[in-house]
Symmetry: none
Subunit: 412 residues, 2 copies
């Protein structure tokens, strides 16, 4: 079972946006056993849409399109699909009323353009978009395939995929499984690693595909199996990775998987423990990573973005003399921040960061990128320092990741 | 002049990575006047690479490929290109010595696999990769087109594009310009905006293409012109956008590049005023939007992520009776949060949010998506309520945008 993903929009072709929709769709299709043959991005052009879809329908059973369903003149996907499938647009009452009600709740008037969003090709199955004004459309092709058109707004697309598309695909097709598993190695360059594990690699069964994914100081090794029985393939992959541990065990960090913050989220909910966060240089990013997850209010009491020294002292109770003496970016201040936020919130665990995100503020002894992070726990506190490069965005994101990992190491 | 961008790698097709390479390449090509006809991602398969390149070479003069040039067995791009162009691989001394020296500097031994990276198709022009071990390759096609193969490591690809590919393309082809300019509007929903500016839109000359790019509370309007004389097209676009200001001037934030928070950032720095933030449902996102900008420490004192009621009361000084009486998601609590964080930090301005991000916690009178936001200023406080949909991520991001805008309205 193969699928082609087509994202439509000039904004993709000129590099104005990063296409994350196709990433999310690819994951969801892989999860139910559908292989992606190709991903394409094309412009808002009728000719490009028609020729691309015709080619895609020849090579793939399933074609998923996103984009071009808005109310304005540059949105041409729906009209093009109607023409391609020889179908006229008719007004859909249910969708029309939904759009009207949705806009009314936001205090927006219902215009002729919005009415146009409820004009849908007669031949398609309408996929109700509970979260937006553009419905999805499901077309059955004469050859037994499926073309699905979804809005380009990421969260509307996500909901339609989960609630409408995936269940229908599972019902329509009998699907085998696809299994991917990725082991993270650290400290061996790709070429050396490949030589060291070559006999292990050569001994892999034909249906397991190995990929090397190099990044600075890290090589991820992915084993993939397509069209397999899930449990059996997973067991085989696990066993092969266990063999690998005998060869390069010291360099294996672990499996790629759910994010570290998601694992902390699960652990804290299960144990009924609470968390608070004191952030200087990461400026709210750690808190927002936790609060992005539904259910965070079960354990996250809150946090303090202690950007100024006054807030560090007045709210978190950091000792002003320590800031004078050691500087705001120091082990002692990081520890006092973690302990302070734990004390004032009554949380079981606390995370703190203080660092120099740049581009200004660095010095010879504390260059831009220097970040101290600390955790405070029922068993005491500890701190560590990491240098996280020279780019502000990267420093904030790396320091957030390091600090979260510190807590994970403690409670895992 | 058209180009096709092809990114190669199973990791793209299974959704393991987000493809940012094609975004960067598209921008650089647009900058020198080359239009992207199509972007494609395919797997590490010889058949897919050959058939895709053959098709791309028919529709585009320039084809840029990234990925599959590493030293391991899953990297097949180079061998496939050599076969396609009927060329044998020969050892390139210069590149071989470069790889050896590069690895030596990192303390890595030079292996047979690295030697393989200096084996290059005889017919190509080698593009020296100063920052990595995989050189780029430039192939002239019999039809007068160009196929360029670049490594997939973003940093190496970037340098090769800038230093080798772009200069050669400019030398090879006489190129016209492409001009894009994007104006940011806020506060008018897409459908209403389209009606309000329809006569302006209809009067645009044929060679200017208008695109609507909607986001929470913001619609970006992009005008694009292809194959034009740059100065003249830029002047025409500026003049058209000036006309637009006469219609919706109050809703225009500015040209893309300046977000609302960036404008607040500039204003506060210029006036020497300070800011503090108290966030419940937005959970740190507002603070992290400000702290992402270099120089935020000039005005941002900090913030409190007041997720639990205890923190709202104990740290921000919200009246517990008010929470009992009106609920944590209420006008009075939003105001007390804004005033509280302003008081305890001594900031000139404060922003606060309290809402129900869901999926749980909603009720009939306060459904998921209900968010109260408030600002406190030297001239008093005010609050407003907005419903921001039903999706957790969307609620957090919309509420953040609304709250930031509330402050902007006050100080602009």
């Amino acid at each position: 079972m193969k699928a082609t993903i087509v994202t439509i929009g000039d904004e993709i072709l000129i590099g104005q946006i990063v296409d994350t929709n196709s990433v999310s769709i690819a994951k969801k299709l892989n999860n139910i056993g559908i292989t992606i043959a190709e991903k394409l991005s094309i412009g808002d052009s009728k000719e490009a849409i028609i020729s691309t879809l015709q080619r895609a329908m020849q090579s793939s059973e399933v074609v998923i399109i996103t984009g071009g369903l808005g109310p304005t003149k540059d949105d041409i996907t729906k009209h093009t699909l109607a023409q391609m499938f020889n179908s006229q647009l008719i007004y859909n009452d249910t969708e029309g009323e939904h759009v009207r009600a949705l806009l009314a709740r936001r205090g927006i008037e219902f215009t002729e353009l919005n009415r146009g969003q409820a004009m849908l090709p007669e031949c398609c199955t309408v996929l109700h978009n509970a979260h937006g004004t553009a419905p999805g459309m499901w077309f059955d092709t004469p050859e037994g395939g499926v073309v699905v058109s979804l809005p380009g707004v990421p969260f509307e697309m996500e909901h339609l995929m989960e609630d409408e598309v995936i269940p229908r695909l599972k019902e329509r097709y009998t699907l085998q499984s696809i299994v991917h598993s990725t082991l993270i190695t650290r400290g061996i360059p790709e070429s050396i690693l490949a030589e060291r594990i070559s006999s292990w690699e050569d001994a892999l069964p034909d249906y397991l595909h190995l990929a090397y994914l190099p990044a600075p100081n890290v090589v991820r090794l992915r084993l993939s199996a397509y069209d397999v029985e899930k449990e059996q393939a997973s067991r085989e992959i696990e066993s092969r990775f266990n063999d690998l541990r005998k060869i390069i065990g010291d360099n294996i960090v672990g499996y790629e998987g759910s994010s570290v913050e998601a694992q902390i989220h699960d652990i804290l909910i299960k144990r009924g423990k609470s968390l608070a966060i004191a952030e200087s240089c990461t400026g709210g990013m750690i808190a927002s990573k936790f609060t992005a997850m539904a259910g965070a209010s079960n354990y996250l009491l809150g946090g303090v973005v202690a950007y100024s020294n006054d807030i560090k002292c007045n709210i978190l109770g950091v000792n002003r003399d320590d800031i004078e003496c050691f500087g705001a970016v120091s082990e002692v201040v990081a520890l006092e921040m973690a302990e302070g936020v734990r004390r004032i919130t009554g949380a079981d665990y606390a995370i703190a960061t203080t660092g120099i995100a740049g581009p200004g503020g660095g010095s010879k002894h504390k260059p831009v990128g220097t970040v101290w992070m600390a955790i405070a726990t029922p068993n005491g506190s500890r701190a560590m320092m990491r240098n996280s490069g020279t780019d502000r965005g990267q420093i904030i994101s790396r320091a957030s990741a390091y600090a979260i990992e510190m807590l994970y190491e403690e409670i895992k």
